[in-house]
């Protein structure tokens, strides 16, 4: 996922960060402007668009009736998929999901699953036979860095907006009734991603910073400030101190975002 960036710019970014500044004028722990819109796709059961500066991600959810997994017969199923569609960046190509989109989908999935954001027990129709399956499809529309945080936010925003059909079970048959109910969302996990550049951590890296960074660390927090998912990426390393620093800053940032969005 790399485009060309000049050495001059690389050096400029790194030198500014060493002084505690960033090329786009932000402080090291500032997010870009976050915009969240919900319910933008009528055909989807739930949807949201999140803009993080120029990064733009859309998430649509669909609900189907399907079979539960054999080890969790009385729980609904959550499936997260991510598409890095070619219109979003000159570096994205059409084709089956590559490792980057699979990793993105799995990080978003882990944040929702491990925080137990969805009360999957309430998505069961008939234990062992029929449950609701929620498909969360992440669609990246414009890539300007930090797809992880934007996608994770968009996924929760879309889930909060998702409606589930009302139903009745009559002699092994599911009858869909008119009207909808909200799907049971209990928590609002927020993922905060850091880039390490010149041994300093910056929050919410934009594309140029991602090109320069040594490594990436994403930490997801639930509403109580517990950590529910972590992922290191990139071919660099972190010291123990940097990891703990990221956890402390991330926790605050996640709370700020949740407060701002009224979650």
């Amino acid at each position: 996922m790399s485009t060309v960036i000049t050495r001059v710019k690389q050096r400029q970014i790194a030198q500014l960060i060493a002084k505690g500044k960033r090329l786009d004028g932000r402080g090291l722990t500032d997010y870009r402007e976050i915009k969240v819109e919900q319910g933008i796709i009528e055909r989807a059961e739930g949807s949201a668009r999140v803009c993080l500066g120029k990064t733009e991600v859309m998430v649509g959810t669909k609900i189907e009736v399907g079979e539960p997994f054999s080890d969790t017969p009385d729980e609904g199923v959550l499936t997260v998929n991510a598409e890095l569609v070619p219109l979003a960046s000159p570096t994205f190509e059409p084709g089956p999901p590559d490792e980057n989109s699979i990793e993105l989908a799995r990080i978003v999935d882990r944040g929702i699953r491990e925080s137990k954001a969805i009360d999957v027990g309430k998505l069961c129709i008939e234990p062992g036979k029929k449950v609701f399956v929620i498909f969360v499809d992440v669609y990246v529309l414009n890539h300007d860095g930090n797809l992880i945080d934007a996608s994770a936010l968009a996924a929760i925003a879309a889930l909060l907006n998702t409606k589930m059909p009302k139903y009745e079970v009559e002699e092994d048959k599911i009858k869909i009734k008119p009207g909808y109910t909200q799907i049971p969302i209990r928590r609002h996990p927020v993922t905060v991603t850091f880039a390490k550049i010149n041994e300093k951590l910056v929050v919410d890296p934009w594309l140029d910073e991602e090109q320069v960074m040594d490594a990436r660390l994403s930490v997801a927090f639930d509403d109580e400030g517990n950590i529910c998912a972590v992922q290191k990426g990139g071919s660099g390393y972190f010291t123990q101190k940097q990891v703990l620093e990221a956890v402390a800053i991330g926790r605050e940032k996640a709370n700020e975002i949740r407060k701002k969005l009224g979650w």
Binding site: D71, T72, P97, E99, I102, E103, A105, R106, R110, R113, E114, S115, K116, A215, L217, D222, G225, N226, I227, C228, A229, V230, Q231, K232, G233, G234, S235, G236, Y237, F238, T239, Q240, V243, L244, V247, A248, R251
Partner: protein
Amino acid sequence: MSQKTEKLIDKKGLRLDGRKPDELRPIKIGVGVLSNADGSAYIEQGKNKILAAVYGPRELHPKHMALPDRTVLRCRYHMAPFSVQERKSPAPSRREIELSKVIREALEPSIFLEYYPRTAIDVFIEVLQADGGTRCASITAASLALADAGIPMRDLVVACAAGKVDDTIVLDLMDEEDKIGTADVPVALMPNLNVITLLQMDGILTPEEFEKAVNLAIEGCKKIYTMQKEALRAKYVAVKEVEE
């Protein structure tokens, strides 16, 4: 991770297999176990049985993927269909693709990639039997295979997981603990440089518990590191004795 169904730690504070919370499973490591590969290693950690092989530096195909200033490290983590309880399809799953990526990124910082421009180094990992913590054992073995292949490295990479089961922070989770425990924190370490090259987590931990788990995992890594060194010595010192 799903809810608890049984006790994972008994009244004496011992785990299902009788280990103390900060105790590793028995580990066996072999280096240079495959004759065709440029470097190879085998690890048994609990019931995990994992082979790692390194080919390269060698010519890279397709050629347009080659980089002018460094070698391309490629990594494939793969599980045998018979390695788990229910047969796993041999086609790479999304989990295996993600793990291949994070394992590659855990090994990359240790290698002087710039020494071999326009080439590829291939790391192949086959999980023959899985018992929880396969990504960590894979990294430990793969790093040894790289060393066995004579690839210049800054440090070895060693990995170990810690986690939380029944409200206790424990080291080196086995399959049952991984499945029904509350959290799992795999960590890879370059022990001499003392830096972390892989860090993941799933489950729920407070920041304090997370710190404790990372510290415990690092302690585990350091213990495995001494075994890694012994395994390398066992191969190369033995060869030297034959020559004399």
